[in-house]
Amino acid sequence: MLEQLLMAFINGILLGGVLALLAFGLNLIFGVVKIIHMAYGQFVMLGFYFIYYFYTAWHLPLLVAMAGGIIVMGLLGMLVQLLIINPLLDAPRLNQLLALASLIIVLENLAQVVWGADYRGIPISMPIIQFGDIFIRSSYLLAFLGAIATLGILYLFLHKTYFGLAIRSVAQDVEMARGMGINPKVIYYITLAAGGALTGVVAAFFIPIYTVHPHFGASFTLMAFVIVVFGGMGNLLGGFISAFIIGVVTSITAVLASTEVADILALVMFILMMMVRPQGILGAKA
């Protein structure tokens, strides 16, 4: 039992890394465009399908297929900005939420029309690493390391480049950024493209771990939400830390009880957090 719990803990940490990446994208979009991207998990699902499609239909090498998937998802992110978010920038919050929620209906059913309801996956067998009594799947480890590396690159992008500076300034104060000669619309497009590409990256890391089906994304949207709110909306570091907390808690609960109880626990943590500390674990009081 103890080994099982320890393994659940390690898996939670490893999966937490990938969830941190996912939550980072949602958080970035919320922080910059001030919109809650309800269909974010569905984007991961689409990215998974695109990589699968490039790999099986066009017979591209896996890494090229992954790169292709990431680029397509980035373009799709810009398309969402163009067709849905731009016309709704001044609309009531509720309409923005519902528009992106109806995007969920479109994407899930589109995937079903194109690829069918079956479970699809690219069979890759990766070794299992053993430390004494502990077994670690190398696919999880790879995803974790990759996610941390991607987060590092994103950090450098946000802090060391002109575009990163522009994105952060728009997140802080749109009017002031406009005054400094930054066009917020352009920044929104870049943010959505980066957020879209991130879903492609997450999908690439998920390929050795999961198989995909049209409703694959829903649970990830929910997870990303929980993490973002837990860490404080718009707070990137808070999101990073809470991804590991949520990852460990759900993974251990899933071993002790069941996956439904684990999801319920995560959601209850989310609800309590919203009530008691809506600014998140690291947020400053507004």
Binding site: L98, F225, V229, I264, F270, M275
Partner: protein
């Protein structure tokens, strides 16, 4: 409403008369079935709009639908208790849950998007809980209501019974809407929506009024869940609780126009008929095409008709009236 009240009363009476007379002219059972579904969802989304039009946008009415649908069905299947008593139990349970959740939200001052997101999470919690108790509820496979017949068990072979029963419930919901409009509650809630602080300092009890409208809305929504279960006779956590149905309830009200008494009814009529139309005309070939088109239509309507259909029409009419007068 800027137009004089006789006109709006005439329109109201006309619409209700058409709904009441419709089954007499309906050619097939199928049309009555569609009509029943429209009235059912109109009832639920009207109850939802009670809260939403005062800024309390709940994305979690699946909580109350799920409780309302499951409690009577389980009571009937396991103990043979009449759905009328089951409805009472379901409504009481929903109201108690609404009181706990609502008090927690309002006590901690959750408003706007935060309220919407918390309620959305609550809907998912209830749906997951129903799946987790799979020994009793049948889990994600859902559960079927034991067949029966007659008023005591609220099941009928003739669809017209349900049409008129649900129509009666809709009338009740519309009547309550009118009563709210004429009451102090509307004034208090409008003031609270503008500014909670200002309302509280004028002596308006913020939590009490918000709780009042929440309990009313939750109770009626639970009744909607009961009616759904009795009419469809099969319930499933994915279709009657959880995020999907919660969102589609507010889609209906918002597309129709949630600030207008007939908005939710119009929205339900459009959504249900569109859904059916696309399903019948496209799903012979590929599964899912109808839903894709449906989603795109929803998106376009949300982007271009943000006030809802009835809202947009009544705004346009008001403009015409003002132009004619001056």
């Amino acid at each position: 409403m800027k137009r004089n009240s006789t006109t709006s009363k005439l329109i109201m009476g006309g619409v209700l008369l058409v709904i009441a007379a419709a089954p007499l002219f309906a050619e097939s059972e199928y049309l009555i079935h569609i009509g029943t579904l429209i009235l059912l969802w109109a009832f639920v989304s009207t109850a939802w709009a009670y809260m939403a039009r005062f800024g309390l946008v709940s994305l979690g009415h699946g909580v109350f639908l799920g409780i309302g649908a499951y409690i009577p069905v389980l009571l009937f299947n396991y103990y043979g208790i009449s759905p009328w008593l089951g409805m009472l139990a379901g409504v009481i349970a929903a109201v108690i849950i609404a009181a706990i959740l609502g008090y927690a939200c309002f006590r901690f001052g959750l408003i706007g998007d935060y309220f919407a997101l918390v309620t959305l999470a609550m809907a998912e919690v209830v749906s997951l809980a129903i799946v987790a108790c799979r020994e009793i509820t049948g889990g994600s496979l859902g559960c079927t209501l034991k067949a029966s017949e007659g008023w005591a068990d609220l099941q009928f072979d003739d669809k017209r019974y349900f049409y008129y029963i649900i129509f009666a419930f809709l009338l009740l919901a519309l009547y309550i809407w009118r009563r709210i409009d004429k009451s102090r509650m509307r004034l208090a809630l409008t003031a609270i929506e503008e500014s909670e602080l200002a309302a509280a300092s004028m002596g308006v009890s913020v939590i009490r009024f918000k709780m009042g409208i929440t309990l009313l809305s939750a109770g009626l929504t639970a009744m909607g869940g009961v009616l759904y279960a009795q009419y469809v006779t099969y319930i499933n956590p994915g279709t009657i609780s959880g995020v999907g149905v919660s969102l589609s309830t507010c889609f209906k009200a918002i597309l129709g126009g949630m600030f207008n008494i007939f908005g939710p009814l119009a929205g339900s009529a459009i959504m249900v008929s569109l859904e059916e139309y696309f399903r019948v005309s496209f799903d012979t070939g590929f599964l899912g095409v109808s839903e894709v088109i449906f989603g795109i239509v929803l998106l376009v309507m949300i982007i271009f008709l943000p006030r809802g259909i009835v809202g947009s029409i009544s705004k346009w009419l008001n403009k015409r009236f003002d132009a004619a007068r001056s």
